[in-house]
């Protein structure tokens, strides 16, 4: 009885001690973890959160590039932005670019990944060829394509025997930027697809083959469904990246907004207002508007994905 009661007393004590030990370990673990993430948090706060808050404040002022003679003007910048045709025009250009790039890059990346996955000889060479352009800085890629699109001496017109003014005709300028972007950035999505393809268990294909499924059936019923998540990721990343298109367009157009302003993207317009017109307050306001748009797209994507996952269950 004594022993039993002693045991009954001891057991909860041990349990409490064990629980307390776990709490201490968790706390210690948290402390260690906090030290590991601290550098990131500091940099994130310094280079993302602080500029964002500062930009938000500036958007309510008429700040100029020198930072002095600033006064609070409330929502004037936002009102002006809504009436500014260049805001809508440049937003349209960014959206147009996104609409062209996202489907093309998704399909292209998938096809290239399929090719690289199924080719059995010198596989490293194919992977390198498809991925290598992504390693180039944007300025190099843009300059390269500027040469290729040159109407007089460029390779594109020479090969196809045409005389299209790719970079100086407003009907083609954005297309030229799109082509450059596809070549330059497809490698990243290609790599994601390739990794996903390699992750599909081979026995699924073997079983399907035994059941008499042909290549098309295997593609439609195994490959594509198994790649659904990665496709969602590729599309989402590409939408967010494409909406922020800037450097390749600017370099290809020699730092101008393209023929009749046809490649002036929203980021470029923000830069022009802030650093050419020196209207830092106004540029901050339109960049906040853009931030809201991008955040809305990202949230919409998350919401859609969650709904789909819930629907799937």
């Amino acid at each position: 009885m004594t022993a039993t009661s002693a045991q009954t007393v001891i057991a909860p004590t041990r349990a409490r001690t064990a629980a307390a030990g776990a709490t201490v370990r968790r706390r210690q673990g948290f402390q260690h973890g906090a030290w590991f993430v601290a550098p990131f948090l500091v940099l994130f706060a310094l280079f993302v959160i602080w500029p964002l808050l500062r930009g938000l404040y500036l958007s309510f002022t008429d700040a100029n590039i020198s930072g002095d003679a600033t006064s609070f003007i409330g929502l004037d910048n936002y009102r002006e932005a809504l009436d500014d045709p260049l805001v809508w025009e440049s937003l349209g250009h960014s959206a147009y670019f996104t609409l062209l790039v996202v489907p093309c890059i998704t399909v292209l990346a998938f096809l290239l990944a399929m090719l690289a996955h199924h080719i059995e000889r010198v596989t490293w060479l194919w992977r390198l060829c498809f991925f290598a352009p992504f390693l180039l800085p944007s300025t190099v890629a843009a300059n390269l394509w500027q040469w290729l699109f040159n109407p007089g001496t460029g390779m594109i017109n020479h090969v196809f025997g045409i005389e299209t003014a790719w970079l100086t005709d407003k009907s083609y300028a954005m297309l030229a930027v799109v082509v450059c972007t596809l070549w330059w950035t497809v490698g990243f999505s290609f790599l994601l697809y390739l990794a996903a393809l390699q992750g599909i268990p081979a026995h699924l294909y073997e079983a399907a083959k035994l059941d008499g499924a042909n290549a098309w059936h295997r593609m439609v019923h195994i490959t594509l469904p198994m790649l659904r998540n990665i496709t969602g990721l590729v599309v989402a990343l590409q939408i967010l990246a494409s909406l922020q298109v800037f450097d390749q367009a600017v370099v290809m157009m020699d730092f101008l907004p393209g023929p009749e302003g046809s490649t002036r993207t929203f980021v470029q317009y923000t830069l022009e207002e802030g650093f050419t017109s020196y209207r830092v307050g106004y540029a901050s306001a339109i960049s906040i508007i853009f931030f809201v748009i991008i955040a809305a797209v990202a949230l919409a994507r998350m919401w859609l994905l969650r709904n789909r996952e819930e629907g799937g269950r």
Binding site: N150, P151, T168, Y278, V280
Partner: protein
């Protein structure tokens, strides 16, 4: 003799400390070596935007200055032309890290917040180094003076020119006895010249290259021909837009006609015009900075100001000028050396003229050496009929005015907008800009700023 009492962490910490110390040491050594190597008492930090042939010329002129003035070390930096340059210069001046001397387009000076981002020139110091107002074209000097104070020291004017191939024009019978293009004084005469030139042009080449889709060039050409028609922009008080849409339409129709009549191939837009010219095209409208390019291609060519098709000669002109970016403690030896350097380059502009620019320092223009320069001496008259953008804060090379109005001119030239529609759009843009406040001082053009 046991193992030293160090663990892995301590070794790593030690190594990283050494690395940091080493890099700081090297950095310090670099600065020291730089100063030692120059052996100079004074250092002038000088920012410019000259690349290509202009860059080589400027470096040669700086080397000559260094040789003549061993006590002054010139630390020059060349930055990307256009908006990036002006952004860096403005931020450096606003952040008290400005160089001692800088280069700007004269048209941008009124918008660059003289007094805040720019410091005034000391006329006494300039005179000490041999530069006086009397040595400059009065129009040019007037543009450099803001509210009665000199904020820019003009180095040159650079103009848009009509380059012509003498070999092709000779075949077309368009060369005079003096070996220069026959005079043109009206729109009809100009298109007659093009018609004849086209007949003598090899197949596959356009008759004239005129940067038909470039917003800067098209804007510059517009400014030239609009000035030929006597067009104005704003009233004297900068309170009213006086832009004449009829005259503007005339100019836009003139520019457009080059394409509709088949003298310009829109497929060869942009820099391809110069390539076509080198390959045998009879005409190209280009900036005078193309002179070294065409010289090195060993072409038999001439160059005149843009043809005075509307009667009165005028060609678009901008000017490179020296400025003193704002320093809170400007003065002392570096400031004096900046004056000395700018004065030296302005006075020794013969070499600069080799790059096609017309020296602002007028005594250079009357030297034998300058008169022997060809085709420079053929277009030196452009100095006397400069067509410039209005003197307002939003004007000047690659400024807001060019950015907003340039694409409108292009839309008419390329045919996506009708000339009269484009002219009306230009007027409404000018009205918007006139009402816009200069972000640097919160004032509209009418409220102050750029009054000489």
């Amino acid at each position: 003799m046991g193992r030293p009492g160090l663990n892995r962490r301590q070794i790593l910490a030690g190594l990283s400390g050494l690395t940091v110390a080493g890099s700081l040491g090297f950095a310090a050594l670099g600065t020291g070596a730089d100063a030692l190597a120059s052996g100079a008492d004074t250092r002038v930090r000088y920012w410019n935007l000259f690349s290509g042939g202009d860059g080589y010329n400027m470096i040669a002129m700086l080397d000559a200055f260094r040789k003549a003035n061993p006590g002054i070390d010139v630390k020059d930096s060349t930055l990307q032309w256009g908006s990036p340059f002006y952004t860096k210069l403005a931020m450096a001046a606003a952040g008290s890290r400005a160089p001692d001397l800088g280069v700007m387009h004269l048209g941008r000076v009124p918008g660059f917040s003289p007094g805040r981002l720019l410091d005034p020139w000391d006329a006494g110091l300039l005179a000490k180094y041999g530069v006086r107002e009397a040595d400059f074209n009065p129009e040019l000097w007037k543009r450099a003076v803001i509210d009665g104070t000199l904020y820019a020291l003009p180095l040159d004017i650079h103009v848009q020119l009509c380059f012509y191939r003498k070999d092709v024009l000779k075949k077309a019978g368009l060369l005079g006895d003096d070996g220069r293009i026959v005079p043109v004084t009206s729109v009809d005469e100009w298109f007659d010249v093009l018609k004849e030139a086209k007949k003598a042009t090899r197949k596959g080449l356009q008759t004239i290259g005129m940067w038909s889709s470039d917003q800067n060039f098209q804007w510059w050409f517009f400014v030239a021909f609009y000035t030929q028609l006597g067009g104005t922009w704003f009233d004297d008080a900068n309170g009213e837009v006086t832009f004449d849409t009829d005259k503007a339409t005339q100019v836009l129709e003139f520019l457009r006609r080059h394409i509709t009549d088949g003298y310009v191939d829109p497929g060869f837009a942009g820099g391809a015009g110069a390539e076509q010219f080198v390959n045998g095209g009879p005409f190209v409208w280009e900036g005078n900075w193309s002179v070294p390019v065409f010289d090195s291609a060993k072409l038999d060519y001439g160059a005149t100001p843009l043809p005075p098709v509307f009667g009165r000669p005028a060609t678009h002109a901008e000017s490179h000028s020296f400025v003193l970016p704002h320093q809170s403690d400007r003065g002392g030896a570096a400031n004096e050396a900046a004056h000395q350097l700018a004065a030296h380059i302005v006075r020794h502009a013969q070499q600069w003229a080799g790059g096609g620019h017309i020296p602002a320092y007028t005594p250079t223009l009357s030297t034998d050496a300058y008169e022997k320069l060809n085709p420079q001496s053929e277009y030196v008259s452009a100095m006397d009929h400069q067509a410039t953008e209005p003197k307002v804060w939003f004007a000047g090379s690659t400024g807001i005015l060019a950015q907003r109005v340039g694409p409108v001119v292009v839309s008419s030239t390329m045919g996506s907008a009708k000339p009269d529609t484009a002219a009306r759009r230009m007027r409404s843009t000018l009205t918007e800009l006139l009402a816009m406040k200069n972000p640097m001082d919160g004032q509209t053009a009418a409220q102050g700023g750029a009054v000489a």
